[in-house]
Subunit: 368 residues, 2 copies
């Protein structure tokens, strides 16, 4: 492998000059720069990032540790993060904790050895005592840490998240407005902050509308399969004992529930309305297009990197909280239902992306 030294020899200059050509080309005269660049080309020289990093003390790598790479929500967040990181010539690397605190810890340990510029973490558990010291060590060694999709708990914490409670409220209000009186919630594990907050918001909205509290169907994971199983439990009951709507903690669950309905020939939304959460791309193209609470996924990632850079620049800590936005599609659209009679909309096809009045503004509110 060619090194700076060999390039210098070949170009007939000193080693320091080559380094200048690479890092501050403006201080090197035109002719010399030319010669050095040619030598680099001829030798196929590639900078050694390890040496560079050893010298600099910090790398240009941004690590993202993600709860579940298989969830389209997270891949979109990553895509957004990549876009901004790329502009700053940083390399984004993704690690998957797959919902396991053990694997998460392993990744954090390995990453700490790499001295990354920053770390974007969407944590598995809310307050993991084993994780705290690892994060502390990372911060001490100069790695910027930003929590993604969950607010930071400590005072000096950086985070970017979406107001899950508000999202839950918005979903609940929408269902209440449509005249639903029995609403169920499908989600879990309830230990996940996101899930708990969305449920809490739903509760608030229903209570606010004078409706009974939601029945909660807890599921072991946020997957399509789990959603289908929860729906199966529900649909096994006689029609009179079912809720008329379910609000799901996640689009994967909602899609699973939806498919179970289609398979059992249960009409959506006439017999059961379904609301998802995240508004992943699959939501719009589902067999019954899914009403969902949209999170600004790409922007979440983008903003996380933004905060990372601020943190590196020594700016004071802050947290960004986005407001989610309800996207109404066919899975809840009011369509001449039999028992309840809500205000009748135009009898044409349900609008696909109308924005309900209850949707909150999507601007970010920031607070330190």
């Amino acid at each position: 492998m060619a090194t700076v030294k060999q390039v210098a020899e070949r170009a007939g200059v000193s080693l320091g000059t080559v380094s200048n050509v690479l890092n501050r080309p403006e201080v090197v005269s035109e002719a010399l720069r030319e010669r050095v660049l040619r030598a680099i080309d001829e030798l196929g020289f590639v900078r050694n990032e390890s040496a560079r990093q050893l010298r600099a003390g910090v790398s240009r790598t941004v690590a993202v540790v993600v709860l579940d790479v298989a969830n389209p929500f997270f891949t979109d967040v990553v895509t957004g993060a990549e876009a901004l990181a790329e502009e700053h010539d940083a390399l984004v690397v993704v690690c998957n904790s797959g919902g396991s605190t053990h694997r998460e810890a392993g990744h954090l340990r390995r990453l700490a050895q790499q001295r990354p510029l920053g770390l974007l973490l969407s944590p598995v558990e809310d307050d993991d005592d084993d994780r705290a010291p690892l994060l502390e060590a990372l911060r001490r060694q100069g790695t910027a840490v930003v929590l993604v999709d969950r607010g930071a708990t400590g005072e000096g914490g950086w985070s970017v998240s979406v107001d899950d409670r508000l999202g839950g409220r918005v979903a609940g209000r929408h269902l209440a407005d449509l005249g639903h009186r029995r609403v169920a919630f499908v989600g879990g594990p309830l230990g996940l902050r996101q899930v708990a907050d969305r449920l809490a918001g739903l509760r608030e909205a229903l209570a606010g509308a004078g409706l009974p509290a939601p029945e909660v169907l807890e599921v072991p994971e946020l997957s399509v399969r789990a959603g289908a199983e929860a729906a199966a439990r529900l649909l096994a009951r006689p029609a009179g004992e079912r809720p008329s709507a379910v609000s799901c903690a996640n689009d994967l669950l909602a899609l699973g529930a939806l498919n179970e309905c289609v398979r059992r020939r249960v009409a959506v939304p006439a017999e059961l309305a379904v609301v998802g959460y995240d508004d992943i791309d699959f939501a719009a193209t589902a067999s019954v297009p899914l009403t969902s609470v949209r999170q600004p996924r790409a922007q979440l990632g983008r903003t996380a990197v933004q905060l990372l850079l601020e943190q590196v620049a020594g700016r004071p800590a802050r947290r960004v909280v986005f407001d989610p936005e309800l996207v109404v599609r066919a899975s809840t659209a009011a369509q001449e239902p039999s028992p309840p009679a809500p205000p009748s909309p135009p009898p044409s096809r349900p609008s696909r992306t109308s924005r309900p009045r209850s949707a909150a503004s999507s601007g970010a509110s920031s607070s330190s």
Copy 2:
């Protein structure tokens, strides 16, 4: 940040001893090892991977550059790769080229500077002249390169892939066996080797059954949206001028097509049978469970890492080709169709995972 030197001072030993404790603990006496470990703990010492790597000349990082992180197929491949890499204490980092040769090249350039142990690449284009020198440079500097999901072209190439031509044939034969006479193919860009091979296989199977060649609907990308649009084109025609089955290059396309059928109230499979490719998890849970050509996704990733390790160990190059396997579900199941009358199956619900006789063995065939 604590360094080895500081640990040595604190423990009252030489710097080399600390290194021995870390790397060859068996050569250090019990008492000393104890003392050193305590010092490490007290100082919160974390190894500096850069320095380590600079000295060693190679890292323990395996980079994966993937065509599309948003495609569940690739996330499953990555998951498989992670599992094996983890056993060898290697760190898997994922980069997303998003189908752009430009971004792919950028990632390769940045990765080259990191001197990774190995690179798993699922290439964007078949033979990219700009990429060739980058890969060559990586190989020269000692990075093991394994092509994933596409056979290597050169002699000394390593790769792990699935026989796409066979997969196409299997899908075609299945449709022919069910009595379909007009079959269309949805896929694209046709420049993608995987797509071209699957189409070629389909052609062979149809020709072998004495059927006319498939109509080809080319799409710009392998996405749900593109699949829906292609299906819309097809379904806009009068029923008599449509094919009775479509074979899709990919499950995302197939799901899109399926949803378009459901939305237009076109019965699947009675009016239009649909076959996908990949058998991602969403295939089984679709509103009409999708018949698909299963690829051993996780094993693909696992095997890729396996080859990587062999290559690092200096073993001779080889290529692994897996055989795909047809998974029959409702989207093609024979069900008393109106015009054609194939051998009637039991009139109960269609079997969900029966294995057709035409499915090839799923064992891997290996050749150097």
